[in-house]
Symmetry: D2
Subunit: 284 residues, 4 copies
Amino acid sequence: MLAAMCRFVAYLGEPITLDSLLLRPANSLVHQSFDAKEFRLRVNGDGFGVAWYVAGYEGSPVRVRTVPPAWNNQNLRSLPPAMRSDCILAHVRAASPGLPVVETNCHPFMHERFAFCHNGGIGDFARARRALLRDLPDAIYDGIEGTTDSELLFAIFLDEWEGRREGDPGDAMAAALVATIKRTVAVAKGEPSYLNLCVTDGERVACTRYSNDPTGAMATLYYHEGRRYVCEGDSCHMVDPGSGATTAIVASEPLSEDAGWEAVPANHVGLIREDRTASAWAIE
Amino acid sequence: MLAAMCRFVAYLGEPITLDSLLLRPANSLVHQSFDAKEFRLRVNGDGFGVAWYVAGYEGSPVRVRTVPPAWNNQNLRSLPPAMRSDCILAHVRAASPGLPVVETNCHPFMHERFAFCHNGGIGDFARARRALLRDLPDAIYDGIEGTTDSELLFAIFLDEWEGRREGDPGDAMAAALVATIKRTVAVAKGEPSYLNLCVTDGERVACTRYSNDPTGAMATLYYHEGRRYVCEGDSCHMVDPGSGATTAIVASEPLSEDAGWEAVPANHVGLIREDRTASAWAIE
Amino acid sequence: MLAAMCRFVAYLGEPITLDSLLLRPANSLVHQSFDAKEFRLRVNGDGFGVAWYVAGYEGSPVRVRTVPPAWNNQNLRSLPPAMRSDCILAHVRAASPGLPVVETNCHPFMHERFAFCHNGGIGDFARARRALLRDLPDAIYDGIEGTTDSELLFAIFLDEWEGRREGDPGDAMAAALVATIKRTVAVAKGEPSYLNLCVTDGERVACTRYSNDPTGAMATLYYHEGRRYVCEGDSCHMVDPGSGATTAIVASEPLSEDAGWEAVPANHVGLIREDRTASAWAIE
Amino acid sequence: MLAAMCRFVAYLGEPITLDSLLLRPANSLVHQSFDAKEFRLRVNGDGFGVAWYVAGYEGSPVRVRTVPPAWNNQNLRSLPPAMRSDCILAHVRAASPGLPVVETNCHPFMHERFAFCHNGGIGDFARARRALLRDLPDAIYDGIEGTTDSELLFAIFLDEWEGRREGDPGDAMAAALVATIKRTVAVAKGEPSYLNLCVTDGERVACTRYSNDPTGAMATLYYHEGRRYVCEGDSCHMVDPGSGATTAIVASEPLSEDAGWEAVPANHVGLIREDRTASAWAIE
């Protein structure tokens, strides 16, 4: 059974305001926080977070996280329409039972230029946790602030990425995500894991849709590309969806009803490169 | 259309632990906070509050209110199993659009020995609010801490009760609730009002189920009485439901699947007296 | 006695990052939140808020407010270094006794292009409140979200500004602040009022330093101008302080130990115009 | 230098209401949260928690923890006067730099019948943390919910207590506290550790006052015993202080100005047994 649900959205493309993802689409991320469509239990009210990259700023992305649900957060009325970015990662959380609902457990997690989030859960996490932590180098271990499986997955990603940082950044990010999955499921046996992961460095986005559930159960993930994503009033759509894309969205659920949202195939990793070319391949 | 949804439960009877209402029943109040049954929009995640009367303590009931949703509140793991009371009022909030989600807007509202909560909304509240406030005496006006229609209804109740405090307390409470409704709908015209109200002084409980929606739409309200309400594991039921009651529950939804939950008729006020006799009559 | 303390800072000038006011100066606003210098009770831990104007964005300033103290807010680590603005208003709150510590009571308050904050208190507010509210037009009255004297002062300001909006905006803002003070103290008699007010529309800043305390007690207020305010590491100073200013700061306490911070005289109003010329005159 | 400050109070004796420790004494714990006397940095505004044992309830003590400062918490107005207990442990937190201010990091920590809190810090915690965690058995390791040195000290205590649970419970608790200190400082070298610890099982209280700072710097700790601790209005004192005690208080600072508060000697452990006899001895 899928333990933690969560919903996320990643954006890479022409600069847009945050509300074009968070608030204005009919099925915006904040709408999903209280009425997600593709899941039996529709509430994702255990925390909200958004990270966005600021043009000309070399530091980490800006992140705002809050424990109270996104749908009534007053700070989320003035920030999103005014903030504009070409790379955004946002997440609403439905906590796995037993994992505390505190700010440090809210996604996205960040390290230097990376922002990361997760939808799903590590199988039998209580048992696997310590072994997975044991294999981390001190520098990464010490950066863990909270107690979720999701942040631990990010720590493993950072460790896997270290060994790949010489290569092409996009390829390294995608390969490190896949390695994170393999390292995790090699330890977390017994119950299935659901590992929809997403990472960005502000110029590329890599995401996975994965589970090892023998029933094939798996969280959804969608991809949408085109020239740009625009909202007129509360109606949003991708302009010129499809080929020659300069803008890409990856999301747990389609945000809007326009054509072109495509399901990411099961057990695949997808990569959007700095030139906005996208590709996906099976996780072996 | 029903604006604010909320769910509440009132208890008067043999002392029980708070978790027997909040956590253990299959459809406990906390369960209703993320999966209410009788409403299209099932989330009541904009605040939680419980007030209970402590044996031998003459002050106001004890109240704990929190803005983050009830379902993951860690304080709600240790308090409810240990706290025992013969009179309890608890509420989960779904905020009306535009009303801030802050602690002072969480129910129950309290004054001296009274605790009060509300499920519904005053029609066209933004317009009616100022006129309703204008009629309040200073002492009651100044006690208002938040900005909800619900707390304003409590203020009107306190004003109506002042003029009735000489009579039988239960009758006065029920009459003041009815007067609150009449005074409110006389000012709030245009849109319908939904006024499921509940007040207790620790010895009696009075509740209304009311709307002036021409379509007849109205929030639900249920009554259940018997010898005592018991939970074995997570299965709860009323012992000897029906006549000769020493325990009564009024709730927006049945908490458990045992027989005996009866719908309060539309536009009625109900009163449970200090001797646990109950009666209900139509609001003219 | 000064009831509520609070600390604020207003900035108008060359674009700077928010951390240049909030975090980096030796006596930054966040530092003042736990160790204010100019007040006996040094804690301002009852809420934090910052509003800043985003270049090219025509809407209200962006505002982030939080109830937990500023000094440990994790969101305040990533936002301030990345956000850059030419007009910023920030505030840390020390709540007056009895006024709830909730997000809607945190400063700055906003309406359209205005942001407003207050340090001090209306004398005998509990008694004066209702009369002051009574004189407000509906449109302004209905915009009040919280319960503080500070937000009520902002509402009075908006009312006073309405009648002056035809004139020069800076003059109108300053005159409306003075009128707000006069209207307030005409009603709030008995105890002294402390009314250090500050308002900006993103292009001008007007502030008052005022009390009618017969002992002369009054909260502090400082003015600092120059070419630009720069931080190197944690050492901040105004470049070319004094004449020919293109940058101005008004603050409850000097943020840094550089020369040029001047105390605003008692019972004065100050105005920084869109061309950065500044003037101050006595409140009659 | 003492890193984290915090303040705590432990009570064992005649049942009293929580406000007799938290609110009513002139230097109550809540007063210490914004104006602690015995420390340079006087604010303890990074979280509050209280645990108390309920007569006749066999489960864990009831615990209420909150992140916003204690001094303005509205829930802390109605709970403390109504809740009565013969064993209470309460704490206000001043977070060590870098340790997140989230609910799971608030004291007291609990396990079964134990409640535990800490004032001070493990020297060079970032470096020592992983080694200290490594030595814990899985069952105890997995119970850790937050990320503080304080909760880790509690985990070590639980581990040390396991091996001593056959003996006298009070002696075992005191011995396990001492063993916790020794095990900690054997790993945490370099910077000094400050380990004022306090644990109770509802019937006994054991506390330490310890540091290995070569300068002798050490947080304060006081002991007060007598017949009972009473408050009349806001004036509190111990009745018949001294011999024949039925009531004992251990606190970071004296709560009231009555005679009889005695400083616990440096590097000592103290134990109050179930019959209220108290003793203290040096930590070798």
